[in-house]
Amino acid sequence: MIVSDLPVLIPLTFLVSALVVTLFGFWKERWGYPLAVLGTLLAVCLSLYGFFQVMDGSMMRYEVGGWAPPVGIEFVYDTLSAFIVLVINSVALIALIHSRVVGKTEFPGKRGGYYAVAMLLMFGFNGMVITGDLFNLYVFLEISSLSSYALIAIGDKKAPFAAFRYLLIGTVGGSLYLLGIGFLYVVTGTLNIIDMSAMLPQVIDNSAVIGGLILMVLGIGIKAALFPLHGWLPDSYTHASSTSSALIAPIGTKVAAYVVLRIMLYLFGDQLVDIGLPVTSIVGALAALGILYGSIMAMAQSELKKMLAYSSVSQIGYVIMGISLSNPFGFIGAVLHILNHALMKGTLFLVAGNLREREGHTNILKFDESYRKKYPWTMAAFTTAALSMVGIPPMAGFFSKWYLALGTIQNSNWLLLAVILISSLLNAVYFFRVLEKVYMRSSASESTSDTERQEVVPSMLWTTTIAAAALIIVGLFNASIVAVIQHMIPAGL
């Protein structure tokens, strides 16, 4: 019973957690944290179990309410969605465990509501990943969006304004997506992804289908911060509280990218070629521009979190580029990079959270050698993640780039190959800039308090180091992950 119901139980775990956190969090706000962590832990266990059920490439189609797909809503729990669910839930677990102390200092008195909203966010993300119905996806998209607006609004003074801007542009994105569904629905008469993808070949030359595709990719592209629709991202991630950015930054854009992947490679699949519009090339070009733009902007930042935010813009470009290559290597690269980037950005934002908690700021210009002495482990985690971002083997980041590079080579797309290589260099520039300061610049004050260890509390330290260690482990053993990813490659590729 439980096994076949997993697709729906995983998201619902978060819904229940949200309700329980709300009830108890109103009563005693300190209960929010353990309940949220417990709920997420349960979800991680379920998704791990579910992942092992479907990792051989099998697929669970769950008919909610007992109605067969075109009539009812179905949840599609295949290898890909199981993988993504596992990734986002694990990263969320790490971020939530990490948030114990940050929560007390950054949003005191609001922890009950905060964790409830965080659980709703995860409910939305899980639903988006698992659902097999386009409109249902929209509903989950809005749940996650509303929650992320709120989580971003909890932060420093500028946070509400950043969140409002995100809300404006994000809602437009959601609406565009909905409009795109509308166009496709009129032409095909169905909302189910699998059902619709079977019909699209017959109506592919209909302008409404093309318009629908454009609108959907545009709408989700806003959520995924695809260049040039990334405008909301840097401010949001910078001004949000450390926990929020550690929770949303690794997951949010990845889930949206996953939806782009579903739309482009599963819904449209090989029809993308017939569509009369070079969609893949355009999306690939945008991704490439985003990669370069994000990297260049990241170099110009003096605020660590803003730098990481721009780096997110660039990294999401890799995922989208992998999708736009629409060949097996590109697919592997994209999916692997979703995992890798979730881990890398998670680690980096956790490090930023650690520094904020201790130093009260994350201004790169103020970094100096004392940081290394005070927080040796935090800085080691930062170094690991930075090397991974640059793409130094055997860190995880290298391998997704490797597959992406193979993908570009397979398509003989030398320009994109060059972009991947150049952006690695740019990554190196802005990360080594920080590393140089942390490891080399002698500290201004020579007081002894600056050289003693003041490492953060265990709950923060361990999560940070585990995330960083995961980068190396994923890198070394990525072949087994890729072996699973190969089961996900859609038939048309």
């Binding site: 909203v117 709120a150 017959q202």
Partner: protein
């Protein structure tokens, strides 16, 4: 400069929509794919199925209610969650901390 970009955005957006709407089926025509009993690949068409079977399936004359509450009940759960989220968010952002009680 900004104004020009905004204007271009609006015009471009309208253009895309107009282009996309050109091939849309005529409004209200019973021949639309979503009103057919069977789709072009031979699967059931949800809209038609609802009209035909809703009463039989749930003894409820209001098809919209059946679709909302039964066929697409997951949507509705999500919808309820959205509302719920909005409420919690209002609470989260606007409620002040109560000064007297706070667990240390």
């Amino acid at each position: 400069m900004n104004k020009v970009i905004n204007l271009l955005l609006i015009i471009g957006f309208t253009g895309v929509l107009l282009y996309a709407s050109m091939d849309l089926p005529y409004r209200g025509s019973p021949d639309n794919p979503m009103n057919q009993p069977e789709s072009m690949t031979g699967t059931t068409v949800a809209g038609h199925y609802y009209v035909e079977k809703a009463y039989k399936d749930a003894h409820t004359p209001n098809m919209v209610t059946v679709v909302l509450g039964d066929y697409r009940s997951m949507d509705t759960l999500g919808e309820q969650t959205v509302i719920f989220a909005a409420g919690i968010i209002g609470f989260l952002i606007l409620r002040r901390r109560k000064k007297n009680k706070e667990d240390s």
